[in-house]
């Protein structure tokens, strides 16, 4: 009984820790009035954020889906090590990730210098924003989708093959439709992670308005000069985050993966 009381107290404290900043965002309306339209910083940041995150999502899905399938289905020597490598960006501090990307693709690096000779400078460009987002979000998508593929009974794919499907056809006609909720959940979580990306982006892509300045970077810049703009960008991001959560909840309630028997 005592343990239950302590648990409930902790629960209320944690909910308060999350709710209070949200309440202060609302109460700040008196000091920093709401304005989404009359805010060029916000409009430009939205453009950069959405453009980069949408391109990033195309790559996440194209690259992440087969990797998630391999991770869920195949086992081979050294796979555990590769799985750990895939998870590394999840635990790596974003600033370190940005620095590593800069070291790999920056002007001074081997690859970067070759690309520069070909007339393609990656750091401090929209491509850098996309790459930074891709680096930190790909594991989120792969992990979610791999769990989804694991829920699909491999016997169903085998059965499809005995019924005339090639391995690829069985993947397209059986595994993908049965893992569709995981694909959507993974994609939304990856997109939400990508749009909130700050550390890796500022290190690798910089903070150039209209070019590499995403929403979180715009808040950071506005804090120094225009607190009203910063607060409005923050409010916009809170609304986007709540929408993402709503969609995720809706999806998880619909989830009907075919669980192994």
């Amino acid at each position: 009984m005592k343990y239950r009381k302590i648990s409930i107290t902790f629960y209320i404290i944690v909910i308060g820790m999350i709710a209070l900043p949200l309440i202060s965002l609302l109460t700040s309306l008196f000091e920093y009035p709401l304005s989404f339209t009359d805010n060029p910083l916000l409009v430009e940041a939205i453009k950069v954020s959405f453009k980069s995150s949408m391109i990033m999502m195309v790559f996440v899905i194209i690259l992440g889906t087969p990797i998630a399938y391999v991770s869920a289905r195949l086992s081979f020597k050294g796979k555990k090590l590769l799985d750990i490598m895939l998870d590394l960006p999840l635990v790596l501090p974003p600033a370190v990730a940005g620095l590593l990307l800069l070291m790999t693709l920056g002007k001074e690096s081997f690859i970067g210098s070759i690309l520069l000779k070909l007339g393609w400078q990656i750091p401090f460009s929209l491509t850098a924003v996309i790459l930074a987002q891709l680096f930190v979000t790909l594991p989120v998508y792969i992990k979610t989708l791999a769990d989804g593929f694991r829920q699909v009974d491999p016997l169903l794919e085998q059965t499809a093959m005995t019924l005339g499907d090639s391995t690829f056809q069985a993947f397209i006609k059986i595994s993908l439709p049965l893992a569709k909720h995981s694909i959507l959940t993974g994609a939304i979580m990856a997109w939400a992670r990508g749009i909130a990306e700050f550390g890796a982006t500022i290190m690798f892509a910089g903070n150039m308005p209209s070019i590499t300045q995403t929403l979180p970077l715009a808040i950071y810049s506005a804090m120094e000069s225009d607190m009203t703009a910063a607060m409005n960008i923050a409010r916009f991001m809170v609304i986007v985050s709540l929408m993402v959560l709503l969609v995720l909840y809706k999806l998880s309630s619909k989830e009907q993966g075919h669980v192994k028997g």
Binding site: T159, T162, D165, I174, L178, Q256, G261
Partner: protein, 361 residues
Amino acid sequence: MLKANFIKKFTDFKLDISLEVAESELLVILGKSGCGKSTLLNCLAGFIRPDVGSFDMAGKCYNQTENNFMLAIHKRHIAYIQQGNTLFPHLSVGENILYSVRKKKRALWADKYEALLDLLDINMLMNRSVETLSGGQKQRVIIARALMMDPGLVLWDEPFTALDHQLREELSNLVLALKKQLKIPMIFVTHDLEEAFKMADSLAVMHEGHILQLDDKSRIFNHPCSERVAQTLGIKNRLYVRCMDERKALFEHTASGHTFEVRNTKEYLNQDYGHEQVLGIRPESITLIPSIKDGTKTNTFSVTLMSKEEKLNYYQLTIKLKGIKDLFIMHLPKDHVEDMVDIGEKMSVYIKAKDMMIFEK
């Protein structure tokens, strides 16, 4: 005619088999879990590549390791009905059944489709979601889906294990009806002795990756070739004997000296005097008789009742024959219950000479 021989080595297991199945024959493979039954089916279906071997059927080559040839799974046209629910949950019953037929060609297959629905009695289920079907209906749809592709061979891997007894009966009758109608070879894997006896034309007993005996079902049930096969076939009473008199087919129990007259020895009998063989007696072959003096009549024995257990249609009795360490199991029909003595008391039993069998250790 299906001819297959495979050798496949795993870390702690080796499959080494050779089998032949005639056109329209149902071969039942019987063996305990882990004996390699499913591995064999996976080799035939193409999921496992054998290290050495070949597999051909009706003049078509499916596997030839010598030439490094292995026909892809989806080109084999082998129906593989496995344990559990393998229906695709995102498709309707009708879409499941027509899965193997390409959409453009479905009109051409309409007659076969209708005939299958009638045969399996599933016409009413077509637009239902597979999640709403009962266990028996699911199995019928799985069978319809497998047969829709016109298979050249049907593999059944303990398909009805998870179902209740009545449903198993019903579905095994359906398989027999299908066999009669389709006239294609079938291989049915089970560990259930009754199911095996009911379904089989021929029977293969498997143990640790090998087929110990492959024969017509009556022959194999009456003449198991070894003690291991006898054990798999439910011959619970086994004792070591030596041939005493070849002409009279008299055998002597090595340790106790009891003699048994056996008229079911056929070619498995090793007539060398002194060669130790195994005498097998089915529990249902031992019958209670009015009390007589031990040994006064052939194959009659005085035994002590050690325990009794009531089953659905009979009593299972454990009896001890003087001088024999191992206990015997016998089945006493319920209408003979008045002949049964109390535990610890003596009674007389008779074993028919033609119901006993001799096989190698």
